[in-house]
């Protein structure tokens, strides 16, 4: 049985989600939340297998909630639900540590499959998002002839792109947090990037993380 939390600030969407999910024999809705903070609290209390989060919610956005869940309840897989089909929004979602990104427009065909996929430990992206990221990845094939980053920095990039915090990266690579901080600063400076979303895009292009 897949235990699911649903969070959306619109009651009608929540009830639609509940109706569809409860109709599946192998799924059960264990909690509902109407904003990001409530979603985080319920996730901590109920420890669902999958948290379905609307990206734009009051008090705490779905993205921020995904980050918090990722660091506090790592066993819960986050599936983001969004209106937006711009590439930047998917990248932000991945950067926040979501395991899946479903467009509301494609919720009828994609949602149930996506819940099963992420519950099974894999990642799910709506077709459109996959296509976009694929393009991004293919473009990377001809770029970056001389990589400015050291192998160690590339490892750090990969972990940043997978939404690890500095502390988690330090633990994973068995280095001090200070060292990670300086690696991180170097990476941003060398690549001339300003935020983590650009790092995610770079990591996808370099094939460091899977789209």
């Amino acid at each position: 049985m897949i235990r699911v939390l649903i969070a959306d600030d619109h009651g009608i969407v929540r009830s639609g989600l509940r109706m569809l999910i409860e109709r599946q024999n192998d799924m059960q809705v264990v909690a509902e939340a109407d904003d990001g903070v409530a979603a985080l609290e319920s996730t901590q209390a109920e420890r669902p297998d999958v948290a379905v989060l609307d990206v734009s919610m009051p008090r705490m956005t779905g993205l921020q909630a995904a980050r918090e869940i990722r660091s506090h309840v790592p066993d819960t897989r986050v599936l983001l639900l969004s209106m937006h089909d711009d590439e930047r929004y998917f990248l932000e979602g991945l950067e926040a540590g979501a395991a899946g990104y479903v467009l509301k427009r494609a919720a009828d065909t994609d949602l149930i499959g996506a819940v099963r996929t992420v519950a099974g430990g894999r990642t799910f992206l709506s077709d459109e998002a996959q296509r976009t990221l694929m393009d991004e990845w293919l473009e990377g094939g001809r770029a970056e002839p001389d990589d400015p980053l050291t192998p160690r920095e590339l490892e750090v990039v990969k972990l940043i792109a997978e939404a690890f915090t500095n502390r988690q990266i330090a633990e994973t690579l068995k280095l001090s947090e200070k060292t990670i901080e300086s690696h991180r600063a170097n990476v941003f400076a060398k690549l001339g990037m300003r935020d983590r979303v650009e790092i995610v895009r770079y990591a996808i292009r370099r094939g460091l993380v899977e789209p």
Binding site: H10, I12, V13, S15, G16, A107, D108
Partner: protein
């Protein structure tokens, strides 16, 4: 287009000369009385001749001097008449005037013009801002209210479809398709009103997304180059850059028949946006008939550029493509 001014009959110079004529004539008359001159006396006629001559001479000199003195005023009037508040070009009242009063007049007129222009820009900016705000609100409502309701319908239809008898399955599928289509159209409408990416991510990601969609809709290849950091610009400027690009791309789609569009955004001492296509172009003369925002929408673009403190430059030639350039000086 000159205003109706009767120049000869009651112009200032005419009135002053007339007054002078009367004064001089009176003075001479009084002088001749005081001197006891008598026209009937032969040798005194000669004196009268000299007096009459001096009257005419005085008046001529008077007229000449007055005209000289009044010329700057006439020039000022000419220049003021040439000013078209809709097309602020340079400053026609720049040179100092030789006469103190006229210089003052020229100065205060300049100040008045500056104030009018400032006020125009201020209220134009306010209107533009209010319009963007309204569009943002509308877009958000479309997203938040209408599209959420449609999402709910879609989810319920999917749930319903799972245990619908096969003979009704097709109908449910069709309903879902319709809802889907409505959602897509709403999304496009909302994006056209005000793309949320512009507020969530800043100018460059919003432009990138806009260009990608333009390319997939029209098949025109797009390139986006940037220099400097446009995402740090004030919101009004970002909006102006986004909207001018949007309008320029719409022109390309409508008229150009282009295969490549290149968009450059440069942020240095000044901000420069260039949208260049390799399409059919047009004859610059065609622009003359254009008024306001119709046709190519150049009026709207120019107004946006002006309100952002910049200017728009459109270059085109038949067969030579079109380049729309907006330059904005950086405010300190």
């Amino acid at each position: 287009m000159r205003p109706n001014v009767t120049r000869r009959d009651d112009s200032l110079i005419g009135q002053v000369v007339a007054a002078n004529v009367v004064l001089v004539a009176l003075t001479l008359f009084a002088a001749s009385l005081a001197a006891g001159l008598d026209l009937s006396v032969e040798n005194q006629r000669w004196s009268f001749g000299i007096l009459a001559l001096s009257i005419i001479l005085t008046l001529c000199v008077n007229l000449w001097m007055l005209q000289r003195r009044f010329r700057p005023l006439e020039r000022l009037i000419d220049r003021v008449e040439r000013i078209d508040p809709a097309v602020p070009v340079g400053d026609p009242l720049e040179e100092p005037e030789p006469v103190a009063e006229i210089d003052r007049l020229s100065h205060s007129f300049r100040r008045l013009l500056d104030r009018i222009e400032e006020e125009r820009r201020r209220s134009g900016t306010l209107v533009m801002r209010a319009q963007e705000e309204e569009r943002r609100r509308l877009a958000r409502d479309l997203h938040d209210e209408v599209n959420q309701a449609l999402t709910a319908i879609l989810l319920r239809l999917e749930a319903l479809g799972q245990d619908t008898p096969p003979e009704q399955a097709a109908e449910v599928a069709e309903l879902k398709r319709l809802v889907n289509q409505a959602m897509e159209e709403l999304l496009n409408l909302a994006r056209h009103l005000r793309p949320s990416a512009l507020d969530d991510h800043g100018l460059m990601p919003a432009l990138e997304a806009q260009l990608k969609r333009f390319s997939s809709r029209t098949g025109v290849e797009v390139r986006l180059n940037r220099e400097g950091d446009p995402d740090e610009l004030p919101e009004d400027v970002q909006t102006a850059l986004y909207r001018v690009t949007q309008e320029a791309l719409a022109n390309v789609a409508r008229h150009a028949g282009a295969t490549v569009v290149e968009v450059d955004v440069e942020v240095a001492e000044q901000i420069e946006l260039r949208v260049r296509d390799d399409g059919a172009g047009f004859h610059p003369g065609e622009l003359a008939g254009e008024s306001g925002g119709s046709g190519l929408g150049l009026g709207g673009m120019a107004e946006r550029a002006r309100l952002a403190g910049g200017e728009l430059d459109v270059r085109s030639a038949p067969g030579g493509g079109t380049t729309v350039t907006m330059r904005i000086g950086r405010r300190a």
